[in-house]
């Protein structure tokens, strides 16, 4: 049995009177890839934001290696170093070039040597095929390239857990692939990841376990094969149906 890295117990999250996450419990084992799917507005992104303590929660606990992440706000920067997060809109820093984007946190947060950080940044960039773009600015890169840089920027912190929040949702179809390939590569390396995505084929390929979320609750939780070919609930079935089309036959 792999050790439990993340454990969420009875999480409650609401904005004013609007409840987003209802009594949600979840765990992620070390080395596991958890894919979260569900209709928009079901609370997927909010869940990731709670795990990274970007949102205050109204109840329950989120434990990373047994430590409550909301226990002490002073510890948050330290804790967030262990959790990498990649956003839908990349969020590279527009005033810094690619290299400086990547080595900012290693240098000022982890106090690493500039040369050593640069070296690792170059290795990571090479792994995603962007070693020749280190001196460019984010605006010179395509969406897919920016997202790969964003992934490198979180990897260099050596996080134990990676969160991906619909990282391909803002990309043109032909760029989706290059980003998903990076994620697949990370999965092969045995990284622990929580991936929120609308790419069902990809979800099926990368997931160790799929969680289907609707209206702030876990409706279904199972192995990818089981989920995608034999969903247990009517709600999940209807959701998956929205991704398939019947051939249009024009009469006339």
């Amino acid at each position: 049995m792999a050790a439990e890295l993340l454990k969420i117990e009875h999480l409650q999250k609401s904005y004013d009177s609007h409840v987003v996450l209802k009594n949600l419990s979840l765990f992620v084992d070390e080395g596991e890839v958890l894919v979260v799917v569900g209709p928009s507005g079901c609370g997927k992104s909010t869940l990731l934001r709670c795990i990274n303590a970007l949102e205050p929660v109204q109840g329950g606990r989120i434990l990373l290696r047994g430590r409550d992440i909301h226990e002490n706000e002073k510890n948050l920067p330290k804790l967030r170093q262990q959790i990498g997060m990649v956003f839908q809109s990349y969020e590279l820093f527009p005033h810094k070039n690619i290299m400086d984007n990547i080595i900012l946190a290693p240098i000022i947060v982890q106090k690493r040597k500039r040369e050593e950080a640069r070296q690792e940044a170059m290795e990571l960039l090479a792994r995603v095929g962007l070693e020749n773009r280190a001196n460019d600015f984010p605006r010179q890169l395509s969406g897919g390239q920016k997202q790969r840089v964003a992934i490198v920027r979180s990897l260099i912190m050596h996080p134990e857990l990676l969160l991906f929040d619909e990282v391909t949702a803002a990309l043109d179809p032909e760029m989706v692939r290059e980003v998903l390939d990076v994620l697949l590569d990370l999965a092969r390396q045995g990284r622990t990841m929580i991936i929120v995505t609308h790419e069902m084929q990809f979800a099926r390929a990368v997931a160790d376990r799929v969680v289907f979320l609707d209206k702030g609750k876990i409706v279904e939780e199972s192995a990818p094969e089981a989920f995608f070919s034999r969903p247990q609930t009517e709600r999940a079935r209807r959701f998956l149906d929205t991704f398939s089309f019947e051939t249009v036959r024009k009469s006339g």
Binding site: Y90, E91, P94, H95, I108, P138, K146
Partner: protein, 219 residues
């Protein structure tokens, strides 16, 4: 207009311009500092300090500099604080300018998407690190036109320094007019020196603005 008079007044105006520039620069530097602190305190919504900053900004922006100077110059000695006219001038400018600069910084800070902040947080940056390395550089580039307008405005406001017996440009002009009735020459030199001070600032600002625009913003 008498060239001979212009020539003899020139050194007097030169000295006065030096004072205007020096006090103006000191006041503006402090105003930027005060403005930045106020803007940061309001950005992070730090309780109590945030309200104090808001009050201060409203007071500083909604009272004339002349009244603020009178308060400092005539008012403070009544509670036992004695200062030189120079310190009064600089303090007055910083007090007035701080409010304006705070608002200029605020507009820039608000223009930076909050996900940028979260992105910095998720990399483990503290609030101060995120502000310093990620948010502020982007905010300042947005604020530059407003900051520059404030700098020019504050430099022009130094003309009321003469009211607390500082021998600035305005004081010199009024003095010479009063003594020798050389109105034309004095006013000519007054305008000339203000332009000499302000035009380069204005041009420099436009240049900085353009450079920052090119420095790679917009995704």
């Amino acid at each position: 207009m008498d060239i001979q008079v212009l020539r003899s007044y020139f050194p007097l105006f030169q000295t006065a311009a030096g004072l205007t520039v020096r006090l103006g620069a000191e006041g503006i530097f402090l105003a930027l500092l005060v403005g930045l602190i106020c803007a940061a305190v309001r950005y992070w919504k730090i309780p109590v300090f945030c309200q104090i900053a808001s009050c201060y900004i409203e007071i500083s922006r909604n009272t004339p500099l002349l009244i603020q100077l009178f308060f400092i110059y005539y008012g403070l000695p009544k509670v036992g604080i004695r200062t030189s006219p120079e310190i009064c001038g600089v303090a007055g400018l910083a007090f007035l300018g701080g409010g304006y600069m705070a608002e200029a910084f605020r507009s820039g800070l608000e223009a930076v998407d909050s996900v940028q902040k979260e992105s910095a947080f998720s990399l483990g940056l503290s609030k101060n690190q995120a502000l310093l390395h990620v948010i502020l550089p982007q905010a300042v580039s947005v604020s530059i036109p407003a900051i520059l307008a404030n700098v020019i405005f504050l430099l022009k406001e130094t003309s009321v320094f003469s009211a607390v017996s500082l021998m600035d440009l305005m004081f010199t002009a009024k003095d010479l007019i009063g003594l020798y009735y050389s109105t034309t020459e004095s006013l000519f030199l007054l305008v000339f020196f203000y332009l000499m001070i302000l035009l380069p600032v204005s041009l420099l600002g436009t240049w900085v603005e353009r450079r920052l625009r090119y420095a790679g913003f917009g995704t």
